[in-house]
């Protein structure tokens, strides 16, 4: 199945385009493909992540740049987002079990949504000084088992 790879220097444009990926990508099933719900989750995670970079990441004096790579088969969607920000420690921002699950906070739900939707979530520096966000969504992943509350 055709991979998707695209680099953006306009994060607003990146956000707008990833939301249409559930319609535009992947191409019609060849050897089987993931369902619409998985694709909606993928688009939501990418939106939340790039929105997070847009609002909070430090790019020093550089033009923000992200490279999105997606591959898909009948078993799973593999995603990565490479960025040129200073990065941050993802684990320290992920929700903890002792947070009030019924608080319905105005901020901070993006990472909860990302965690609920994905498996094998990571955000780490690369050898060339960039940072890579990676996750997979297996076709049998049930985000409702990981729901937030």
């Amino acid at each position: 199945m055709n991979p998707f790879t695209k680099t953006y220097t306009d994060l607003d444009c990146a956000i707008d385009e990833v939301r249409s990926l559930s319609d535009d990508w992947p191409p019609p099933a060849q050897n089987g493909t993931v369902d619409d719900e998985t694709l909606h989750c993928m688009c939501l995670v990418l939106h939340e992540w790039i929105a997070n970079l847009h609002q909070h990441a430090h790019f020093q004096n550089n033009t923000p740049r992200v490279e999105i790579r997606l591959t898909c088969n009948a078993e799973q969607v593999d995603c990565s987002v490479l960025d040129n920000s200073n990065g941050f420690d993802l684990a320290s921002y992920l929700p903890t079990d002792d947070e009030d699950p019924e608080a319905f906070p105005e901020r901070g739900m993006g990472l909860r949504i990302i965690e609920a939707c994905t498996d094998e979530l990571s955000y780490s520096p690369t050898e060339d000084g960039l940072h890579r966000f990676k996750f997979i969504i297996p076709s049998d992943h049930d985000p409702w088992l990981n729901t937030l509350f």
């Binding site: 909606h40 939501l44 939106h47 939340e48 847009h54 105005e106 909860r112 729901t147």
Partner: protein, 113 residues
């Protein structure tokens, strides 16, 4: 971007969410509902029929609306919820707080009861 708000009655306002409610227009949404909250409106119907994007910040702005009116027994209903919005509603279990209706008219009828 401003949001289209329709006064359905002295107690109820319908806000057409449009294509997106996300971190880029959440403040506009807040300004839209705040104007009506200040006028005493306590029932809001959010029409999601055309909505392709609802992100965590957009959802947070809806929580703000809920917090503003819930002390006065106010209500927020979701109407004609699109599939991308339904994914967010299910993930966050916000259906526990906001009743969903298949159409704006069904929500209006429920509020009128």
């Amino acid at each position: 971007m401003s949001f289209d708000a329709e006064t359905a009655s002295s107690e109820t306002v319908i806000i057409h969410v449009g294509e997106a409610l996300d971190f880029r227009n959440a403040d506009d949404f807040k300004a839209t509902f705040q104007e009506h909250v200040d006028e005493g409106v306590r029932q809001f119907i959010l029409n999601f029929s055309d909505t392709e994007v609802l992100d965590s910040t957009g959802l947070g702005s809806i929580f703000s609306l809920y917090r503003a009116i819930s002390p006065d027994d106010g209500k927020v209903a979701f109407a004609d919820v699109s599939e991308p919005v339904q994914v967010v509603v299910q993930l966050t279990r916000t259906y526990k707080v906001f009743r969903q209706f298949p159409s704006v008219e069904a929500a209006r009828e429920a509020f009128a009861e």
